[in-house]
């Protein structure tokens, strides 16, 4: 049996209040979720293994395990947030497609996150796709945001579960590619 290489990565959930960060984690992790963690010290830590991935160059099978840090009150950026960002290999930056101001907030958070982790990989999530139409002006701005950070993006719905797994897999692929 071919040996799998286990790789563990810390990733952070970024996004303004109410964009659906925790709901996305809840959808993705599903089996291990404790709200009390979040309310106690301001961080919810969850764990999830991604499907095994065979690297095209080496041919070896790699098994990514995400340790997901979801921060409460992330919009109130302080030194504590900086500590939480430290050491993250990647982040999922979540915008609410129905609220344009969340794009500006994610922009600021991403700048701060990348200051601390300049080599980390980002995937942009346009959440609440179940509520919007892709012809909206917000959608254009979302795409511009994705372009400006040169990130891949996924349109998701934490409510219906649409593309949520895909979102995390996408970040996993980005991380494995960057190795």
């Amino acid at each position: 049996m071919e040996k799998r290489i286990e790789i563990r990565k810390k990733i952070c959930m970024l996004g303004a209040f109410g964009v659906g960060k925790t709901s996305l984690v809840r959808q993705f992790v599903f089996n291990k979720y404790e709200d009390k963690y979040l309310s106690t010290i301001g961080v919810l830590i969850s764990q999830k293994q991604l499907p095994p991935f065979r690297k095209s160059d080496s041919g070896r099978i790699e098994q990514l395990e995400f340790i997901i840090w979801d921060l409460a009150n992330i919009e109130k950026y302080n030194k504590m947030t900086k500590n939480y960002f430290r050491g993250a290999a990647g982040a999922i930056a979540v915008c609410d497609l129905t609220r344009a101001h969340t794009f500006e907030e994610i922009d600021q958070l991403l700048n701060k996150f990348l200051e601390i982790n300049p080599k980390s990989r980002i995937v942009l999530a346009g959440n609440k796709i179940d509520l919007v139409d892709q012809q909206l002006i917000e959608m254009e701005r979302f795409l511009h945001l994705s372009d400006s950070y040169q990130t891949t993006y996924t349109l998701t719905s934490a409510k219906t579960g649409e593309n949520v797994e895909q979102l995390f897999v996408c970040l996993g692929n980005e991380l494995l590619k960057s190795e």
């Binding site: 109410g18 139409d133 190795e179």
Partner: protein, 589 residues
């Protein structure tokens, strides 16, 4: 003759009374001596002491009760007086005596306890009695003490090696058999978060670090290294040299694996060998062999988590107590205000206070309710700011009413040739579908819809049937982008330049390219001013392209002022969308 006679008489007297005279003289001397002794009280006391002592002793022996009765009040009064007058002296005098007495008393009590324990142990554990007796004889430690050591032994339960920067678990070695769980990774993350939390909350000038967490018999010791730290879960009383040896273990691990740690990227396979020194360390202290190693936490890890939470709850509460009560008071006020709005279903919204700013999100059934909420909340004292992020989700009756409203607005168009339009309401969206002959008509209809106050989002899906004819057949729009401007400003915002750069990059490899730049404004000023403003905005964009070597002859500038809004000018959000420049990349065929 007379003197001779007298002499003889004296001589005769001397002969007859010599002995008596001597005795008399001796008696006189003794009387003088006795008088002298009686006048010298000290000397008299010395003389009488043995006699009186003897007499008293006899008296006490013969009349004990009578003596006690007589002396008790005198002695008590004297002792009381002495204690009051010279308390410190009395204490000093009694201290060594009492100390010795207590020590003696405690020692006797302990001896009795140990004897009692020994007896009980002998009764209960007869099978192990002999072995313990032998061990006791050899080591010189009592059987009772040996039993206590056996009952409460020191034990290393777990050792976690955690990457300091990321909080990722590098290795977990468990000393006892356990069931598989995912908690070990969460514990590593939480411990790291807690270390950061404590360091940030209670930081001092020194480079202090959290180094110990206690819960009942369990203790988590954190030994910091350069790249990693060890979290060691122990039970019982740690031996004196334990911390020192733990530090040595950390150094040993660092010396052997520092290159791996320095480049640690989450590949836990690279750290497999780390398990050996840890196992060896555990075996040094644990008498029982290791039953299971790695990837296997136990139920009591849950207690560690509970401990961690308990510590944090206490810390957090102490830290934020004032804020907490103030926020709770404000939240109660918010709730009571919201409860006064009859049409509002509180289950559909959520709210929280952050730095005296209230964020409200969720869904309400009408704009009126949303506005009522805003007014109600702004009347609360102590709330500096209210951010109303509520969206409107129309109730069925309101939806019908709204669709009727849309229908009335669209009716004039439906009668025109080439127009097939209708509007529907979905959630808080108004969706316009159908066909119109020109782009201008599409925009007009969009503008009309934006006048419906209850419409939060308008999706204009109208298809322009003759759109292709608005451009000559020889032209084709390849790309279209929008950039936005601040109120009354013409400068391209730095964050918007990425869009312009993208268009430049897109066009540079293409032939026969033209750029159409169209400027617009909101309706805050008069129309003449707005027209000039929109022109200047369009020219700002053109200047940017020119500065980036795009040939001016291929740029076409248009400006429309406040005409053709893409969103309502009645709200700031809408006006922000209208302050724009549209850029189209057009290719000549």
């Amino acid at each position: 003759m007379q003197p001779v006679k007298e002499k003889s008489l004296v001589k005769l007297r001397e002969l007859l009374f010599k002995e008596d005279l001597q005795k008399l003289k001796q008696l006189e001397d003794e009387v003088v001596h006795l008088k002298a002794r009686l006048s010298d009280k000290e000397a008299l006391l010395i003389s009488l002491e043995p006699i009186i002592a003897d007499l008293l002793e006899r008296k006490i022996v013969n009349s004990r009760n009578e003596m006690a009765e007589v002396l008790a009040p005198i002695m008590s009064a004297a002792i009381r007086h002495q204690i009051v007058e010279a308390k410190e002296d009395v204490i000093d005098a009694l201290y060594p005596i009492i100390g010795k007495t207590i020590r003696k008393s405690v020692a006797e009590a302990m001896k009795k306890l140990v004897d009692s324990v020994n007896q009980r142990i002998d009764r209960v554990f007869k099978g192990k009695l002999f072995a313990r007796q032998v061990k006791s004889k050899i080591t010189g430690v009592s059987r009772g003490e040996l039993f206590l050591k056996e009952a409460l032994p020191f034990q290393i339960e777990e050792i976690f090696v955690i990457h300091k920067a990321t909080g990722l678990l590098i290795k977990h070695v468990s000393a006892v058999e356990s069931t598989a769980s995912v908690d070990e990774n969460l514990i590593s993350g939480m411990l790291t978060a807690i270390r950061d939390f404590v360091a940030e909350s209670f930081k001092t000038d020194t480079k202090a670090d959290l180094n110990e967490i206690k819960y009942g018999d369990l203790k988590v010791i954190l030994e910091m290294g350069r790249y990693t730290y060890l979290a060691v879960v122990i039970s019982g009383i740690e031996p004196d040299e334990f911390r020192e040896n733990l530090e040595k273990l950390e150094r040993r691990i660092h010396n052997r694996f520092y290159k791996v740690f320095r480049q640690f990227d989450g590949d836990i396979n690279a750290c497999q060998e780390i398990v050996k020194p840890i196992q060896k360390f555990i075996l040094t202290y644990n008498s029982a062999p290791l039953k299971a190693v790695a990837h296997s936490p136990k139920p009591y890890l849950r207690y560690i988590l509970i401990t961690i939470f308990a510590i944090l709850v206490i810390g957090f509460t102490a830290f934020k107590l004032t804020d907490f009560f103030a926020q709770r008071k404000l939240l109660k006020q918010v709730q009571s205000k919201l409860e006064l709005i009859p049409e509002l279903d509180l289950n559909t919204i959520e709210y929280k206070i952050d730095d005296e700013k209230l964020l409200v999100a969720g869904q309400v059934q009408s704009i009126q309710v949303k506005n009522q909420i805003s007014s109600a909340l702004q009347s609360i004292q102590g709330l500096n700011n209210v951010e109303n992020q509520l969206t409107v989700h129309f109730s069925p009756p309101r939806k019908v009413q709204l669709e009727q409203n849309i229908h009335e607005k669209l009716m004039p168009f439906e009668q025109l040739p080439g127009f097939h339009v209708h509007g529907i309401v979905e959630g808080n969206h108004i969706i316009i579908e159908g066909e119109v002959p020109e782009l201008q008509a599409k925009r007009e209809i969009g503008f009309l819809m934006s006048e419906i106050q209850e419409a939060q989002v308008i999706i204009n899906n109208l298809v322009v049937t003759k759109q292709q004819k608005s451009l000559p057949d020889s032209l084709q729009i390849l790309q279209k982008e929008l950039i936005f401007f601040n109120i009354d400003q013409i400068a391209v915002l730095p964050e918007q330049t990425a869009i312009l750069d993208k268009l430049l990059k897109f066009s540079q490899d293409l032939e026969n390219i033209q750029i159409k730049i169209s400027g617009y404004s909101d309706d805050l000023a008069d129309s003449t001013y707005n027209l000039q403003l929109s022109e200047q905005r369009a020219r700002s964009v053109a200047n940017y392209f020119r500065a980036n070597n795009f040939p001016p002859p291929n740029m076409h500038i248009h400006f429309y002022g406040e005409a053709y809004p893409i969103a309502t000018n009645k709200t700031e959000t809408g006006r922000a969308k209208n302050r724009r420049v549209e850029i189209e990349i057009i290719q000549k065929r």
